[in-house]
């Protein structure tokens, strides 16, 4: 195989991994938060017996189920792709990353899968408390899963606790590997992100119902709850993001330089760029719109603070600057918009016009994909910003790709593009369909008691219900 074909193959493998992992992350970033919300609503229903909580839980469990399904099938792909497309990487780092992923499967995947069946289909097979327990377990499972995979990813960003023996990574301290320097920041940032993603999906849907003047009680509850949540989570996320940024400055200064568009090897009184077009060829920015000294202040807490720039390393050691730069601004912009909406919501609530302001409801309903887009943009900053390294400073991405013929990777990549495009369309179609159908009627919910222990009784009960509805239809 000549050099060009090997390189082409490597690039195709990288594109394929980027594409499949981007597609996958969409779904967990919704389900981690949504599972938590569903468990909370179920708990509130058991506590207050206010049927609107049951309605919320029962309604959102359906979009949750299709999203979870998409996450499962696209996730399995990833657990095999390390080996298929990055065989040398797997060989080098298997002893470090493999056990972390084994723990993810043991402590999270089985737990989620084991209790999901009961959560989705067990309403009339187990007691209410047991069902609530199953929902909680699924939610906790999603959090545990995030813990392990973030630990593995963070180790690739800020490797620690390892030694290199015969060119391969071995572990000296598992504690240092798992709780590596960037792990706590990335984990809290990501978990908050998933909570915000789900919060804004529910908020947007509730606002949409209110605009259409449908399902008023249900939608008001949903909007009100999620606005309170956003009021806490969105500013908190900005704070955590700031800490995370400081951590990046300390451990991955070149990534930070790309995020902020800083070119000189060292620069003091660094401006914050509201807008610019970074030019990697000329090593400068065009069309800068900036606030002098603000980047220094944010990152060093000093207007005159010095920051390391891209020119401190050779061109070959820099990431794709424009991509990182713009992704970062997109994420921050969406984060600020979320804070604004939470604040505006509070203001309208005080004035007592929250459920009537059409402009606000319209804005909220447009925010449905905001969380997902911000999560994707944030991960592009994380992953593209680490390039050309796969393990920061130790393993270069281009060196550890499987030596596959380019045609073979091209074939699998096209299959994934076709499959995922089709399925994403299908997913959106069914998501919309479920939203349009609206929540289950309160009357039906009250009749259809959950948690009837004897299954025979439950079946007879549902059958009666079906007969009754037919009867009603006949009249």
């Amino acid at each position: 195989m000549d050099i060009d074909s090997a390189q082409l193959s490597a690039i195709l493998s990288r594109i394929q991994f980027a594409f499949t992992v981007s597609f996958h992350i969409i779904f967990p970033s919704i389900t981690i938060g949504l599972a938590t919300l569903i468990a909370v609503w179920e708990g509130l229903w058991l506590k207050t017996r206010n049927p609107v909580y049951l309605q919320l839980a029962k309604f959102w469990i359906k979009p949750f189920a299709i999203t979870f399904g998409m996450g499962v099938v696209s996730g399995i792909v990833l657990s095999y792709e390390f080996g298929t497309n990055f065989s040398k990487f797997s060989e080098l780092t298997g002893a470090v990353l493999g056990p972390l992923m084994a723990y993810e499967v043991l402590t999270a995947f089985f737990l989620e899968a084991g209790f999901l069946g009961v959560m989705l289909f067990g309403w009339q097979r187990v007691s209410e408390r047991m069902h609530f327990f199953a929902s909680c377990t699924v939610a906790v499972g999603t959090w545990i899963s995030a813990f392990w995979i973030i630990a593995a990813n963070s180790w690739m960003q800020t490797p620690a606790g390892h030694k290199i023996v015969n060119g391969r990574f071995e572990v000296e301290s598992w504690f240092a590997v798992i709780f590596n320097p960037s792990m706590p920041y990335r984990l809290s940032h990501m978990l908050l992100a998933t909570m915000l993603t789900a919060t804004f999906v529910v908020m947007a849907t509730s606002a949409w119902y209110l605009l259409k003047q449908q399902h008023q009680t249900f939608a008001r509850k949903g909007l009100s709850m999620t606005l309170w949540l956003a009021l806490v989570l969105a500013p908190l996320q900005a704070l955590v993001g700031d800490f995370h940024g400081l951590n990046v400055k300390e451990h991955q200064p070149i990534k930070l330089a790309a995020m902020e568009g800083i070119w000189p090897a060292r620069e003091a009184h660094v401006p914050y760029l509201l807008f610019a077009i970074p030019d990697p060829e000329q090593e400068k920015n065009h069309f800068e719109v900036k606030i002098p000294g603000l980047a220094s202040l944010l990152l060093t807490h000093d207007w005159q603070g010095e920051l390391q720039g891209l020119q401190s390393v050779p061109k070959a050691d820099r990431p794709n600057v424009p991509l990182v730069f713009f992704s970062f601004r997109l994420m921050v912009g969406l984060g600020l918009l979320m804070i604004f909406i939470a604040g505006a919501g509070l203001w309208l609530r005080k004035r007592g016009t929250l459920y009537q302001s059409r402009w606000f409801l319209r804005l909220c309903s447009l925010m449905a994909p905001s969380g997902v887009i911000a999560v994707l943009a944030g991960w592009y900053v994380v992953e593209v910003g680490r390039q050309p390294w796969l393990v920061q400073g130790l393993v270069r991405t281009m060196d550890v790709v499987s030596p596959l013929p380019a045609e073979r990777v091209a074939l699998s990549l096209s299959l994934f593009v076709l499959t995922y495009s089709l399925l994403f369309g299908v997913y959106l179609y069914f998501f919309r369909k479920l939203i349009k159908k609206g929540p289950p009627e309160l009357a039906d919910l009250q009749q259809l008691k959950v948690g009837v222990k004897a299954s025979g009784y439950a079946v007879a009960f549902t059958k009666n219900l079906a007969d009754e509805t037919q009867h009603k239809g006949a009249h």
Binding site: G83, E91, G98, A102, G114, G117, R408
Partner: protein, 343 residues
């Protein structure tokens, strides 16, 4: 026991659990074309919709144990078997989402039924193909060479055999989980499949034993033949009993008489034991290799530090997982007709 041997056996256990559990639910997908009405298709899918996700998790578990405990084998096997793995994953994607979308669709329902059937069959076929390629020995230049190297008469044969085997597990599961026409049909197809599977097992065993002198020696090279002999004998006994049980279920429908619950449940456990015995036979032949004649588990094993780190996780969580998996199955025990409620 040597800790690397423990992980070799654990990997075997994960693969076996996957084959048994996802085997029957892929089998249901493979059987789809033999059932005609929408109602029957609903029933088939409902019988597994609460367990498929957990079953498939064993595939991921096998993958990460291979990754964590035998990284060299993970890297080598997966990159060499590139295309069948990719096709298997695509198959699993389509059949997996079909569970969610089929029940929610109207005009496109037929397409989701097809996605479920074709996806399940494709995944099983690829798994069989990989089994054949591994048993036969993957050429060391396979990663660079043509993918068609993996397709040999033998690997095609094992591919069909695995599809038939999963279908048999699916039939036995349906006999346990349904009544009436579906049970009848499952019993009927199951009887034919018992023959197919036994024939395939015999041929694959024969090929494996004859293909390699070392494997021949292991089976027939001395006294060990005596204690290995129960494997094929028990398999034949299980197959015979399975065939008769399925016959009894089938006959009960003609004479409209009741079969006892025992006879409805036993076929599934017999089919499972057939698979366990076949797997044990395979293990006897291939031990200690992860890639026959190329890479043994000792050669591929990760540093001990990693193995010890995973050990408490395995020892605590695997029993726990088995416990709540059994609990989950028990909640939905009984015939599918009795839990038609959705969510």
């Amino acid at each position: 026991m040597d800790i690397s041997l423990f992980y070799f056996l654990l990997l075997g256990f994960a693969i076996l659990m996957y084959v048994l559990l996802d085997g029957f639910d892929l089998g249901i997908g493979i059987l789809y074309p033999w059932f005609n009405s929408d109602a029957e298709h609903d029933h088939l899918m409902r019988s597994i919709s609460h367990v498929w996700d957990g079953n498939e998790t064993w595939l991921v578990f096998g993958g990460v144990i291979l990754f964590g405990a035998f990284p060299t084998a993970y890297a080598q096997l997966l990159s060499t078997l590139y295309l069948p793995i990719m096709l298997m994953l695509i198959g699993l994607i389509f059949r997996g989402v079909a569970f969610e979308y089929r029940f929610k669709s109207h005009s496109s329902k037929i397409w989701w039924s097809r996605a479920f059937a074709i996806g399940s069959t494709l995944a099983a076929f690829c798994q069989g193909l990989m089994l054949g390629a591994v048993v036969q020995g993957v050429p060391s230049d396979a990663i660079q060479g043509s993918s068609l190297q993996l397709v040999t008469p033998f690997s095609l044969f094992t591919a069909v055999a695995v599809v038939a085997g999963y279908a048999l597990l699916g039939c036995a599961y349906l006999v346990m989980k349904s009544r009436g026409a579906i049970q009848h049909k499952a019993a009927q197809r199951g009887r034919v499949l018992v023959w197919v599977v036994m024939l395939a097992m015999a041929l694959v065993s024969l090929f494996t034993v004859l293909s390699d002198d070392l494997i021949w020696q292991r089976w027939f090279g001395g006294w060990q033949t005596l204690w290995l002999l129960p494997l094929p004998l028990l398999a034949m006994a299980a197959a015979r009993l399975l065939y008769r049980d399925l016959g009894r279920v089938r006959k009960s429908h003609h004479k409209a008489e009741q079969v006892t619950e025992k006879h409805e449940d036993r076929p599934f456990w017999l089919a499972v034991s057939l698979f366990v015995l076949a797997f044990a036979g395979l293990l006897v032949s291939l031990f200690p290799y992860l890639l026959p004649r190329q890479l043994s588990y000792q050669q591929a094993v990760a540093p001990e530090h990693s193995l010890w780190f995973m050990l408490p996780g395995v020892l605590i969580f695997v029993p726990l997982i088995l416990a709540y998996t059994i609990w989950g199955y028990r909640i939905f025990a009984g015939k599918v007709e009795d839990f038609e409620e959705g969510y």
